[in-house]
Amino acid sequence: MKVKMDNREKLFTAVAGIFNVDPASISEKSSPDTVPGWDSLAMVNLVAELEQVFDVQFDILEIADFHNVEIIRTILADKGVSFE
């Protein structure tokens, strides 16, 4: 139970930290359309932050799919990060 909370929280906190918004305002549906400042340049920092926080490497085509937080969560889960 604890693990699930932790990783989801880590993901939301990382996203909020990079775009400089309140973590409570982030949800699975958050995307460039709903988060101010989520543009392609800020994405670069998001990728770096997530790679460091979860100790994973995204490949370049995965980054192109980062359309919302839910997709990012799915990609992280594929890399063995547990959200269950």
Binding site: I18, L41, N45, V47
Partner: protein
């Protein structure tokens, strides 16, 4: 390494160190916010850095800001649009130059400068490639020359990193990528050698030291952001090190322990024959340390020997080991006794008339380092250990002595401070201060500040702490702006005596507040020149010029700092009227004309009068 000045709260400094250790952008931003929340007076002077670049760095700008803020300074960074290099740098009306940066950094790489060559050198004929390379060399030169006309702020040109991939054919190509990088870098280095206001940011050197970790190809292709997230911290620190000499004064004194620092072994125990300072291991390490120290001395750093030993043992060791790089005569002060080192160092600082924060201390003994740091927290204690290689590394990686260029004054300084001790000896042997001054045969030269002397003026404004009434750290651009108004009076003074020429040691800047009132902006003397009457010479020259130009009132202020107590009553002594006063500041006025006396022990040459 420790980041942020020692006077900052420990938790902020730890936050900065952790941010750089982790490399995480979010921690960098938090640390930057913590630094920006500190009181402005502890954060150093404002500094505007303009960046023109051929690749994305704006996403990483907070990391650059954090490294620079930790120097400390209050940095503002403005990044120009991608590839707008000439547009921003050659036009005085460009957005970037209008913003009045204190320095401008050019970040570029071959990929954008010569894309056809960088992607595949075989797309072009040999002749086309050769033409492209020489055109780019010319572009660098034109940029350097054109920029000097458009702006006075120092320009930092980066070197181009070498191509990252292995390509044996390219190495043997007369106009391949490798040839292009080497030739263009050589043109860039030439510019810095020729133009005083151009400095080098050694991007290529940083990449070479950082290796494959420097770049992230994925992010380069995705967003043209080549510098890896894991490496941007190290990049930012290297940029801060490169810019530091433009922002903060260089440390002036290196205080060195002797045994197990400048040679292996303890002279009092091992004897001269037991000391390790030969060309073979382990003597070769100590020899390297001595060579490094000697090199610092040759760039104007004063050396002080702080050793717990019998003086005779040390003197005979230096005499017997006469092929060592260092001689006893290289030290501006020698303190070999059994007194605590911090007491010796404090005495040295008083004798040389230098603030403790211009001292760096090296010792192999943790006890000595800690005792020094505890008693004299202003002194920088290098993180050395008993391992001589750690001592050499600590010296080589110390930022505090870094300079872009060595000035005439830097070269003369060491000799000058040795003369200082001769002057002190003479002072003790003659009865009164004035009689003593007469024996010096002082000769002062008044030189109106001109474009040519701005560099030295800015250096003095940046370094002088004690005899300095306002401690304003003007930039080159600010001094130039003052020069542009003919009513302003900017005077420098150089001093010579029978022991030698000290070069420019005094500066007085007065600006026209209105048609009636002239206001003293800055008035300073280098500590080497205090007590000779030089301030009287500058003062008298100012009064006579002010009168000639028709000013009726002279105003001035004294702004108290931790270091300038000795000039708290300077304007009173010169005959000005205090008009208001609080704990930090005293305001003065003087109606003109006003008669003042020049000390008769100084011979004065006024360059503006002699044409």
């Amino acid at each position: 390494m420790t980041l942020g000045p020692g006077a900052w709260p420990e938790d902020v400094r730890r936050q900065i160190a952790e941010a750089f250790e982790s490399g995480r952008i979010s921690l960098m931003r938090n640390a930057l916010r913590a630094v920006q929340a500190l009181p402005a007076e502890s954060r150093g002077k404002a500094f505007r850095l303009g960046i023109v670049r051929t690749f994305t760095i704006e996403t990483q700008v907070d990391v650059l800001a954090l490294a620079l803020d930790a120097l400390p300074c209050q940095v503002e960074i403005k990044i120009a649009d991608l590839e707008n290099i000439e547009q921003e740098l050659l036009n005085p009306a460009s957005d970037l130059l209008q913003w009045q940066p204190d320095a401008v950094l050019v970040l570029w790489r071959l990929e954008e400068l010569l894309p056809a060559l960088a992607s595949s050198s075989r797309m072009l004929t040999l002749e086309q490639r050769m033409t492209a390379i020489s055109a780019l060399q010319e572009r660098v030169e034109l940029l350097a020359r054109g920029y000097s006309q458009a702006s006075a702020a120092p320009l930092l040109l980066s070197t181009l990193p070498l191509p990252a991939t292995v390509d044996l054919r390219d190495l043997h190509d007369a106009a391949g990528q490798r040839q292009a990088v080497e030739k263009i870098n050589s043109a860039i280095l030439e510019c810095a050698a020729r133009h005083e206001r151009i400095a080098i940011f050694d991007f290529a050197g940083w990449v070479a030291r950082t290796g494959a970790a420097a770049f992230d190809r994925k992010m380069d292709l995705y967003a043209r952001q080549p510098i890896a997230a894991a490496a941007i911290g190290s990049f930012a620190l290297f940029l801060a090190r490169t810019l530091r000499p433009l922002i903060l004064p260089t440390a002036k004194v290196l205080a060195l322990d002797l045994d197990n620092v400048l040679w292996g072994g303890v002279v009092g125990e091992d004897g001269i024959s037991g000391l390790k300072i030969g060309h073979d291991f382990p003597g070769n390490i100590y020899r390297r340390i001595q060579n490094h120290v000697l090199q610092l001395k040759q760039c104007g750093v004063l050396l002080v020997l702080l050793s717990k030993n019998n003086r005779e043992d040390v003197e005979s060791a230096f005499a017997a080991l006469d092929d060592m790089p260092l001689r006893l005569s290289d030290f501006a002060d020698i303190r070999v006794d059994w007194q605590e080192k911090h007491r010796n160092l404090a005495e040295t600082a008083a004798d040389l008339n230098l603030g403790l924060d211009s001292f760096v201390f090296v010792d192999d003994q943790a006890f000595e380092r800690e005792q020094m740091q505890f008693n004299l927290p202003q002194v920088t204690v290098l993180p050395a250990s008993e391992d001589p290689l750690a001592i050499l590394n600590a010296l080589e990686s110390c930022w505090l002595f870094d300079q872009h260029r060595v000035s005439h004054e830097d070269l003369a300084r060491s000799q000058d401070y040795q003369l200082q001790s001769q002057r002190k000896a003479l002072e003790r042997s003659v009865p009164s201060a004035e009689t003593f001054l007469r024996t010096l045969h002082l000769c002062a030269r008044l030189v109106p500040v001109s474009e040519h002397g701005i560099g030295r003026v800015v250096q003095m404004l940046g370094k002088t702490n004690q005899f300095n009434v306002t401690t304003r750290r003007h930039t080159e651009a600010q001094v130039r702006a003052m020069l542009n108004d003919a009513r302003n009076i900017l005077l420098s003074l150089s001093l010579a005596d029978r022991f030698g020429d000290q070069g420019i040691v005094g500066l007085l800047i007065a600006v026209a507040a209105n048609n009636e009132t002239l206001r003293i902006d800055s008035f300073l003397l280098s500590c080497r020149a205090i007590g000779r009457g030089a301030e009287q010479v500058l003062w008298t020259a100012l009064l006579s010029r002010a009168q000639t130009q028709g000013f009726g009132v002279l105003s001035a202020e004294y702004l108290r700092t931790e270091k300038n107590a000795q000039v708290a009553d300077l304007f009173d002594r010169l005959g000005m009227e205090p008009v208001s006063c609080d704990t930090r500041r005293t305001e003065y006025r003087l109606m003109l004309p006003h008669a003042a006396q020049v000390p008769d022990w100084i011979e004065i040459f006024d360059e503006s009068e002699n044409g």
